[in-house]
């Protein structure tokens, strides 16, 4: 029996805009095994961040079920949801806008402990804060610093400590390293990995960086314009990508190795479709290198083509 910490079924989020309905997330389903990491990759505007926020109901999903530890989060009221968020947390992309500039490091880290009445004694809270800071590799002397006095890497550590402060079992990492420099990225990725094994955390790892997701995740889903186009264990996806978009995405990643000949790349043409009022056809058809008549007919559904490997493409069977 597999122990799933999270199961998302038919998650959908539409935003109402002046021009029409914006399909941010369209009918997404996946499961996350306890202690594992699910990577969600895709380019800007594909809805990956909306998924992360919808799971915590920071954004109210339009429809769908989010089953966390066997309980459907969509059925909880605001208060119940608030206490449920001690089990699930989120780490944000931008280490600048994700910290309140007027709160010190210790104020930011201790806020959740106080709000949720996890620890009552002031001394114990202090102790817990310094324990958390230690855990994420922040020296104690920064406790009274303000975020603007610190660099991006340290700020991201504060964000991680804030998320850990409520002892969560599950964390959504929303592009946690995209805004950081290469050498700092590696520091943070290693920290997150280390914390995962130490605290038995389950992650959803949202990113646009294929190498990072490969390093970090067990399973992976590829998103395009709010739809899941491919889903599989990481090794399988990188060895044998099936969806034309995944193939293009993988071939587009620059590889930092010397190669005599120019690498062959799939260069996509055309423009990304507008996510508003989408017609009933494959969303990738405007840029697809394997486009044919079937693609215009209807929207492809996810099919299992190998064990655990799902693809949504008319041309893949």
């Amino acid at each position: 029996m597999v122990d799933n910490i999270l199961e998302v079924r038919n998650l959908t989020k539409y935003f109402k805009t002046k021009k029409g309905l914006l399909h941010a997330v369209d009918n997404i389903s996946f499961t996350l095994e306890r202690g594992k990491t699910l990577g969600i990759v895709g380019e800007s505007g594909c809805g990956k961040s909306t998924i992360g926020r919808s799971i915590l109901r920071l954004i109210e999903p339009t429809s769908g079920e989010i089953i966390f530890n066997g309980e459907d989060l969509m059925k909880l009221n605001t208060l119940q949801m608030r206490s449920m968020r001690t089990k699930m947390q989120i780490i944000f992309q931008d280490p600048y806008s994700s910290l309140n500039p007027r709160r010190t490091v210790s104020q930011t880290i201790s806020e959740a402990i106080e709000l949720n009445h996890l620890i009552h004694d002031k001394k114990d809270i202090e102790k817990r804060v310094s324990e958390l800071m230690d855990m994420v590799g922040l020296a104690d002397r920064f406790a009274n610093s303000y975020p603007h006095e610190l660099d991006g890497g340290r700020r991201q550590r504060i964000g991680i400590a804030r998320a850990l402060s409520v002892n969560p079992e599950f964390i959504v990492c929303d592009e946690p390293v995209s805004a950081l420099d290469v050498s700092i990225q590696a520091q943070i990725l290693n920290l997150l990995k280390e914390l995962q094994s130490k605290l038995k955390l389950s992650y959803i790892f949202i990113t646009h960086d294929m190498s990072a997701v490969n390093y970090f995740s067990d399973d992976i889903t590829v998103m395009y314009l709010g739809k899941m186009v491919e889903k599989s264990p990481v090794e399988d996806l990188f060895l044998q990508p099936e969806h034309p978009y995944t193939k293009a995405l993988l071939s587009a990643v620059p590889i930092p190795e010397y190669h005599k000949e120019k690498r062959k790349r799939i260069i996509l043409r055309g423009e990304v479709k507008s996510p508003i009022n989408l017609p009933d056809e494959c969303r990738f058809s405007s840029r697809c290198q394997e486009f044919c008549d079937v693609c215009k007919g209807s929207e492809p559904q996810l099919k299992e083509i190998r064990k655990d490997h799902f693809v949504a493409c008319h041309n893949v069977t």
């Binding site: 944000f92 806008s97 910290l99 309140n100 709000l115 998320a163 409520v166």
Partner: protein, 289 residues
């Protein structure tokens, strides 16, 4: 690794640190402190009934001299004394008016910005209506309708500014509301109260404070203007605008009577404008290098 010092520094002291480096801001602060001290000292050395409003026909309309530095008015009262005494009205009403309009505007603007929807529509339409009527007309009508008490004057001067404050606050709150740290606060279980006060309002206040400091000068001119057209503080109370108004009849030959009260207004307003510029420069991160 070298230990990098991290001083504990609050945002307020950070702003003050920037402000101190601002030459014109410090100049403005010096002007205003100087004026405040003069008014305070004047309060003790001049007696209202004899020195300020007491008439002295024998010394009417004397040009500036060593005895009367700014000369005397048509009732023989020393103009310098009256200017010093009159400063309290300008400053008190000016500051009170800005405080009043800021409080009302911030409350309305925050409600509109944070909650949106119907509340926002109602508040912003009301702001449209009040902004459509020219501010000075609004003040004039208000004083005519409700009387010329100090309280009503304060409201008359501030009422025209409320829509602008509301707009600025709303825009700022809307920007801050979308910041990720507000979302993070929600994610760790903060309720609306905590979010509004701890995370949104404090961070949304900079533009409001900047705007408020820049508006003090305008409020002081506002009260002087009302007095000038006879709707503000009335004789014999010495108010700068009222003094200018009565000096109008004596422009020919006694122009010094119109000179000094206006100069007092200008210097005061200049002081506050300099402070306002300084505050803006030290609070606006865009101008920081």
């Amino acid at each position: 690794m070298k230990q990098k010092k991290t001083k504990r520094r609050s945002t307020f002291s950070e702003i003050w640190r920037n402000y101190r480096k601002n030459f014109s801001g410090m100049l403005g602060l010096m002007i205003i402190v100087g004026i405040l001290v003069t008014i305070l000292v004047g309060n003790f050395i001049y007696d209202y009934d004899t020195d300020v409003i007491g008439q002295n026909i024998s010394e009417r309309k004397q040009a500036p001299s060593s005895e009367h530095l700014f000369g005397t008015d048509e009732f023989g009262r020393d103009i310098l004394t009256r200017i010093i005494w009159g400063g309290r009205y300008s400053l008190a009403i000016g500051l009170a008016a800005v405080l009043f309009s800021s409080i009302i505007g911030v409350v309305l603007g925050s409600l509109a910005g944070y909650y949106g929807g119907v509340i926002e529509t109602i508040i912003m339409r009301l702001a449209d209506i009040f902004q459509a009527i020219p501010a000075i007309m609004l003040g004039i009508c208000f004083v005519t309708a409700f009387g010329q008490s100090i309280f009503m004057l304060t409201i008359a001067v501030s009422i025209g500014a409320i829509p602008a404050v509301t707009r600025v606050t709303r825009a700022s709150v809307m920007t801050v509301k979308d910041m990720e740290y507000v979302e993070a606060a929600r994610a760790i279980g903060a309720n609306n109260f905590v979010i509004i006060f701890r995370h949104v309002l404090l961070n949304a206040m900079s533009p409001v404070i900047v705007q408020a400091t820049l508006r003090i000068g305008g409020a002081i001119v506002g009260i002087a203007a009302l007095s000038f057209i006879g709707l503000g503080i009335t004789a014999p109370t010495p108010e700068w605008g009222a003094m200018l108004s009565s000096a109008r009849q004596y422009l020919r030959g006694y122009d010094y009577m119109a000179l000094y009260p206006g100069l007092a207004i200008m210097v005061t307003v200049l002081g506050f404008n300099l402070i306002g510029d300084g505050v803006r420069d030290s609070m606006d991160p865009k101008l920081k290098k």
